[in-house]
Amino acid sequence: MAQNTRFPVTRRSLLAGGAAALAAPLAAPFVSRLARAQDPVNVGVVVPLSGANAQFGINSRNGIQLVADEINKAGGIKSLGGAPINLVVADSTSTPATAASVAQRMISQNQVVSVLGAFASSLTIAISEVTERRQLPLLTMSFSDIITGRGFKNVFQVVNKASTIGAAQFDYTMAIAKRLGVDASKVAILYEDTAYGTSQSEGLRKAAKDAGLDIVMDEAYPHGITDVTPLINKLRGSGAQMVFPVSYLNDSLLIIRTMRQQGLTIPAIGGAAGYVIPDFHKGLGELAEGVLSIAPANWDLAPDYTDRFRERFGYFMVHEALEHAVCMGVLREALEKSASRDPQAVREALATGTHNEGWSSVMTGDGVRFDETGLNANAFPVMVQWRDGELRTVHPAKVAKIEPIWSVKAG
Amino acid sequence: MTALLEVARLSARYGRGAPVLHEVALELGQGEFVTVIGANTAGKSTLLRAISGVGPAVEGSIRFDGRELTAVAPHARPKLGIAHVPEGRHVFPEMSVEENLAIGAHARGGAPGGGAAARLEAIFELFPRLRERRRQFGGTLSGGEQQMLAIGRGLMLEPRLLILDEPSLGLAPMIVEELHDRLVEIHRRGVAILLVEQNVSLALSVASRGYVLQSGSIVLEGPAGELLRDDRVREAYLGI
């Protein structure tokens, strides 16, 4: 596997060999805290490397690793005397309490200046409770509205909130339908009952209501559903003209395949996650062609950057990798600007101004600027579409790479 | 002629508990009918289980037909010609009578048919009730029928030694008598029998020789008739 890149071994774990490696974290408090100029800047990366979200965790790690390696190759953080970035990567598992423990460990044992992660909203929220109390910046691409909705001072969300993304999933679709002269007045919403599905569908629902549309079906289904036939039976009976599924990959494939089996050819406009990863196209092949999905960002908006990822890891830069790379890029700028290893100084630098150099510029909306809640005020979601096996940006027009089409491939 | 079964200095214990058998010695000739009598906790079942290998770990020696058994896996012993009909019958409750019997054929390495069919016929002749009940599940049989099935199942192994543990337990006196008639019949056909029986007088009346086991040790042995007349036996086990 291309992803199995090893990470720089820390000095400490080099000293401690074999079984003694287990004792290494114990020794940490006694390791000198004196930082010389060339000492690396430790950055914590907490992502799920096992369990159901492992793929997304690995993608995220790859994105961050790519940027960190580029920074180091280019001479590290110049304002810190060329100090290299040292990533401290750990498995958050899928348990919030473990994710929080891991973050705490990085802060007290590894003296990280900042934490990046943790893909899943529940994990990110749990981590933010620790980073907030330890006054340390947390950069994330999790969608949940709660993340920047609690008045926390040390959390920075580089993407839009779930409600914004959900609303865009609907609004953009309407705009495209109108432009292409498609009639769409009856819509259906299907979502998995996870934090992601629930909060994104809220934005979707509100936008549909605001537009005065007829929501003929609005149904949550259990995460990990093994048979969506009952769901599609309901959908078929509802008379919907289009469906907005918000789901991870397994469900998205089940939904599309079952729709086609039943001869249901209404378009499905995906809610990111399962719809915008390579496995979606690999799994559905031709059926994936023309499928639209909302996404917080897309690789083709900055191909000069994202091609480096494709080159190194062998697949296109999926959005979670891209946004985590942006987190790392933004952090680099803040480190340069603050010229400090003090987390609070870095936080100040993060909170001020627009970050638009290098990887920071890859995010939608001319660089990253955090508002007072820590939300990236510049970002906007994009509508993407599978075309000839590639995920292309088709909306909004100002960033679109190709024109959208309204087509549904039957099986 | 060497003995069929030769038990020497056999000791057994469960876990770290006190020994259940202590240096037991026992011998059984080819085609002989021997009984072991003793009180409830004397270790009779343990002795039988040691021979068939389903009991606790043992020390000492058990030779069958000149071959050391303690080194033979329990499931391999029936193939040597040992059939053990355990206390409580242990028929397979969710198998028909026929299937219960067919299990015996399996151990002999043959699919039903050929020799197995003839054996089955012989067993049905011996226990006509089993033929009537051939399609019934083992668990639904009466106690006496289950005992017949258990014995029949053992005979399917074509044993040279049939070990029986309390076959009359819980059965009506009439059935017990019938059962013992059958045992005599089986013995007459050339099968050696080692019988443990609570009904001491009955056991000594069918067997040719007997051993008395007390607290894990053999305390007395001799021809059945002698034992039946022995005062100590009469007092302890016959309540006379």
Partner: protein
């Protein structure tokens, strides 16, 4: 009509649930062990079928046989090395051994195969037969047919062969089985191998409409337990009936309750059945 459609869907999916649950029931019946890692073998079977499809071009319906063979062999080894030593241990230790095994297998798969969600493409996976107004999904129907076929094969094996009979004897009375010359340890190994192999087979035949990743088994754990408990732990036929019951409950309950609550409906039925008929709906195990 809606009800009929729901019944058909429930039957098709339930047949598959049933067959993947047979192994769980078999292992319980023969060894008296509840195998929490059982679903991980489903995942392994799916991976084998996926690789057979990707590299040999084998349709998963055929790759299923390969899944069975490989996972059967692996299962025998697992039984020998890990399960056998704790057969006499307290029930809690057995439960947690299999929980540990689940963690190990999932993460071994993650390290070996990566976290990607893999799925196959077959010509029939998005088509269906139409009978009157009823839609019968082809991949579901094929999976159902293959599942029933393998279920019937196991049934025939258990009922009609000498080894199968010996296995049942071991389940019903291990001591008596030993006395009848049956190598019970071999039977345990075989039962475990067949049990997980069958689940792997079931995993392979559902691959045409699903995706496989290291954690896919977790979606089936609860379904499998529900199926075997509804059918009666240890009963092979019961597992199939229980599986079909689970499928039909899921599919019919969706007509009345929100789909989000389909598992809640299942759990309530599960607990009620246990409370009223602790030995399952199919039959009573003998003494």
């Amino acid at each position: 009509m809606q009800l009929l459609q729901a019944l058909v869907d429930g039957l098709l999916i339930g047949g598959v649930y049933g067959v993947v649950s047979i192994g769980l029931s078999l292992v319980f019946g023969v060894m008296n062990i509840v195998n929490f890692a059982h679903a991980a073998f489903l995942m392994l079977g799916m991976f084998v079928a996926w690789f057979a499809w990707a590299f040999l071009g084998l349709d998963p319906l055929l790759g299923a046989f390969l899944s069975f063979v490989l996972v059967f062999a692996f299962g025998c080894a697992v039984q020998q090395v890990l399960v056998r030593p704790i057969l006499a241990a307290p029930q809690v230790a057995q439960i947690f051994l299999t929980v540990g095994l689940l963690i190990v297998l999932e993460n071994a798969a993650l390290m070996a195969f990566g976290a990607d969600f893999r799925s196959v493409q077959t010509p029939y996976q998005t088509s269906a037969f139409r009978l009157g107004g009823i839609i019968v999904s082809k991949p579901y129907l094929y999976a159902f047919a293959m599942a029933l076929l393998s279920g019937a094969a196991v049934w025939a094996f258990l009922e009609r062969t000498a080894v199968g009979r010996a296995m049942r004897a071991t389940a019903q009375d291990p001591m008596a089985a030993t006395l009848m010359g049956i190598d019970t340890q071999r039977m345990h190994r075989l039962a475990f191998g067949v049990g997980v192999g069958l689940t792997a087979f079931g995993g392979a035949v559902i691959l045409p409409y699903l995706t496989v990743s290291p954690t896919v088994g977790s979606h089936y754990v609860v379904l499998m337990f529900t199926a075997v408990v509804l059918g009666g732990l240890g009963s092979v036929a019961g597992a199939v009936v229980g599986g079909i019951a689970v499928g039909v409950i899921q599919s019919v309950s969706a007509l009345v309750f929100p789909i989000q609550l389909q598992n809640l409906v299942l759990f309530v039925v599960f607990i009620l059945v246990l409370a009223l008929r602790p030995d399952g709906i199919v039959r009573r195990r003998g003494a």
